[in-house]
Symmetry: C2
């Protein structure tokens, strides 16, 4: 019953994470109604993503001819301090805090089963090789910058076991009450951590 171009759009978009067939169908009709110019703009915005490449060191998405991204190519960043993040957006949030002068390593979203996907195993091997070759087998610090959720903790434990022999210390981000947050509304777990980490 759906017109063919709509069907094709729904097929392509409902395969993407967090978009279901219902949302894809509504989007398709909405975009179809925007007129040829806006449709071309949106199609070009998708096609433009093909200009991006993956950094050969940290697996971050970046633009431009170089093999390394801007952070990895920056000689002023400390190569022996590595923050392991799951998502590009996590990296961007941390970078905005302007507190970190090491480099990031992108794992991709970690599973809830405490197992690495083949691509993630490959990335971890590549990280280990970098530490072996460029840091003589020991990073100064590896920060497991993974969200402090139940699954995050599980995955952090897994990565810690893998990387323990390759770093002087392995840390995680501090836990406590978020800035602007009220004690009244913080859960026990958070308050417990805030007490442990008081300064």
């Amino acid at each position: 019953m759906l017109p063919n171009p709509i069907k094709r759009f729904v097929d392509a978009f409902s395969k993407l994470p967090s978009i279901g067939p219902r949302q894809a169908t509504r989007l398709a009709f909405y975009i179809a109604g925007l007129g040829k110019n806006r449709i071309k703009e949106i199609a070009d915005a998708v096609a433009g993503l093909a200009d991006l490449t993956t950094c050969a060191r940290c697996f971050r998405t970046h633009v431009g001819g170089g093999k390394l991204c801007a952070i990895c190519a920056d000689p002023t960043r400390d190569k022996s301090t590595i923050a392991i993040v799951e998502k590009e957006t996590d990296l961007l949030s941390l970078e905005k805090a302007k507190k970190f002068n090491g480099w990031y390593f992108l794992m991709g979203e970690l599973r809830k089963t405490g197992e690495l996907e083949p691509e993630q195993k490959m990335r971890l091997t590549s990280l280990k090789e970098f530490i072996q070759k460029e840091l003589r087998g020991k990073a100064q610090e590896i920060i497991l910058a993974i969200s402090p959720t139940v699954y995050g903790d599980l995955n952090a434990a897994l990565l810690k076991k893998e990387l323990e022999p390759l770093a002087e210390k392995i840390t995680r981000l501090g836990r406590g009450i978020p800035t602007g947050g009220e004690i009244e509304f913080a859960d026990e777990e958070t308050l417990g951590n805030a007490l442990d980490n008081r300064s």
Copy 2:
């Protein structure tokens, strides 16, 4: 901080309904990681939406050279019975029930303020003109096939006022317990309607 192609994608997609900047950013990075072939496939699926046109009578999205969509061009469908729907997906759901032999008229999603948007006023005028010219001023039945929500009821009342002089009768879809639904879990309002509409 975001690479340019990502920024462009986020700008284009976060303007669409039900996609926020966060979801758009995640989507952008996800699609960027799919590789050139899949990216082209997705971009083409968007571009393909430009092949669709709007039916000159019912404002439905359809493909093909004709001015009228398949339903409006079908001589066996009863021109004097009109189901007013908000969304294309509502139309498709009703059509799947295979119970309706009239034609549909697409209003687009109605606002929660009980006011029509300029585009919707224009469509309503076009519907009134059709009834004046093709049905000698009176449709046999106009079904306000709008969801029975608080806002749906408000908008149905508004449309009823506008269309009352142009139809023998104006109806809404029956209300009651959905097929397969259990009495135990139906709310009072639904049960009240089910009692009123018992057959």
